[in-house]
């Protein structure tokens, strides 16, 4: 057996496979389809300080090799999360990463603070959701805001803070550097691209919100490129995601510079996608006699 362990900001994961926030609920639902113990970490859906209703439906549109969503961070709030989801997830031998959402810097800080004493391993700061009017991507497309929100939230965080970046920017490395300066312990990328799909029969956008977050295999080349660019620009550990559906996809991200990877949209096509990605990584390591992932991480220069 090869060594699959990876270390993200001081937290050791038994393997690099995580679930992408918002695609895996709080683990419970897919727990009926697979053994959560096998995952490096479960990243739960975005959690805010108060319950959020989310956006009106339709929230989902299929596109060629991908999909759009405009869920808008519907969530029952951090209290319900702490009460119900943490105890559920702690039954499993896997790390817990909480994706935190907010409409203002204060709200982000409140969630981080509320989680300070909770039994979770990592925080993932979501400043890149394209589906909410306030907060979300507005914070993630301006380097000064990225730095500021990172710095503030970091002050209130006990767990290491991962900043999740938006791909809808001219220069991703600027955002990565801003997060680094702000004190981030790691970076997640990419969140969804901004896309639109039109129902030409009904003559309106498929999504009630008009535009939505674009994910799935279709976007992988953009994600790999950004992980690569960011790896050249900063020294933070990177959690790579965007279209990963196979072990080979995961290896691409690792070679581009990712320390861990997350599987999202692929679950909708195959509920066991994350475990198959893990198996695929292992097969690659066996085939090419890669003893540890470090040996191939960021090998593309």
């Amino acid at each position: 057996m090869k060594n699959l362990k990876v270390n993200i900001a001081g937290v050791e994961l038994k393997n690099p496979v995580m679930t992408a926030s918002g695609t895996f609920g709080s683990g419970r639902e897919y727990g009926e389809y697979m053994d959560l113990n096998q995952l490096g970490a479960v990243v739960v859906k975005g959690v805010a300080i108060t319950p959020w209703k989310g956006n009106p439906p339709p929230r989902i549109a299929e596109t060629y090799g991908g999909m759009l969503n405009s869920v808008g961070l519907q969530n029952p709030g951090v209290e319900v999360f702490i009460e119900q989801d943490i105890p559920f997830l702690r039954q499993y031998d896997t790390k817990i990463v909480v994706n935190i959402a907010g409409k203002t810097i204060e709200e982000y800080c409140q969630v981080a603070e509320r989680l300070a004493d909770a039994d979770v391993d990592l925080l993932e700061l979501n400043i890149s959701c394209p589906n909410v009017k306030e907060g979300g991507v507005a914070f993630g497309t301006d380097p000064r805001m990225v730095e500021k929100v990172t710095r503030e939230v970091k002050k209130h965080s006990k767990q290491p803070l991962i900043v999740k970046l938006s791909p809808n920017v001219t220069d991703i490395t600027e955002m990565a550097k801003a997060a680094e300066v702000g004190g981030a312990d790691g970076l997640s990328l990419i969140n969804t691209l901004l896309g639109m799909s039109i129902d030409i029969h009904k003559r309106r956008p498929v999504l009630a919100m008009g535009v939505g977050g674009f994910s799935g295999p279709a976007i992988k080349p953009v994600a790999v490129r950004m992980v690569y660019q960011v790896k050249q620009a900063v020294s933070l550990p990177i959690i790579g995601m965007g279209g990963i559906a196979t072990g080979e996809d995961a290896i691409e991200f690792i070679m581009a510079g990712a320390t861990a990877i997350a599987v999202g949209t692929a679950h909708f096509h195959n509920p066991r996608a994350s475990l198959e990605v893990l198996e695929g990584i292992q097969e690659y390591m066996e085939k090419y006699k890669v003893q540890e992932l470090k040996k191939i991480r960021g090998i593309i220069k």
Partner: protein
Amino acid sequence: MCLTEDQWKRKKTVVIIKNEAIAKDVYEMDLQVGETAKEIEPGQFIHLYCRQGQRLLPRPISICEVDEKKGRLKIVYGIVGSGTKEFASYSPFETIDIIAPLGKGYQWESQEKHSILVGGGLGVPPLLELAKRLPGKVEVYLGFRSQPFLVENFKKYTDFVYIATDDGSHGTKGTVLDVLKNKSECPEKARVYTCGPKPMLQSITQWAVEKGYPIQVSLEERMACGVGACVGCVCKIKDLQTGEWQYQRVCKEGPVFNGKEVIWNEES
């Protein structure tokens, strides 16, 4: 706490036994699903996966009928887009990937006396297995644009099958609600079960509320996961006590909801 290998739900590859047109652009497909047939509640749905890799999301289709002995499910689907068009091209003995069953079906009492089933268009199929299982008297109202389907199948389980068509080519010309108002004996107590286009569900709900009948409606929404994880497939459901509403998941809390709790004003 942890499930063992054979307890996990999974995506399965099953054999297609039959796949035939039963009306214009409407197909009936029988699937060999084995033991899964025993787990079905009427009103539940299954997820069908396309073979074409550019179509990633599963297509939700209601379960129309179950043959537990043979281990088979029947579904009926309309060709509306690329995925259903792909399904229509499959031949018997080919395979298809599915997850089954999903969602929460219709609920009834074991002593049920009188049931009124109302289906419109592609909302007709999920009522068939229900008609078969319901005890007591079962009235069935089916509305179609023009060409009806599955009517004979319903007649196997009840004598009270009424048809409405928009163009009057079969049964009564008009809406299924018109026929319902004319034909139903309107007992003191009855439960109403319905599936079809939103405006129909809304008008049937209004009628049922007036009559004081409990009503269950089956809703549709675009889905991604189908298992409750993505919160993509929501509809507005109000709490009858507090009057507060929240978005609930059609794939998990539904597709069957209490009609009185549904907030209809969302565009559909």
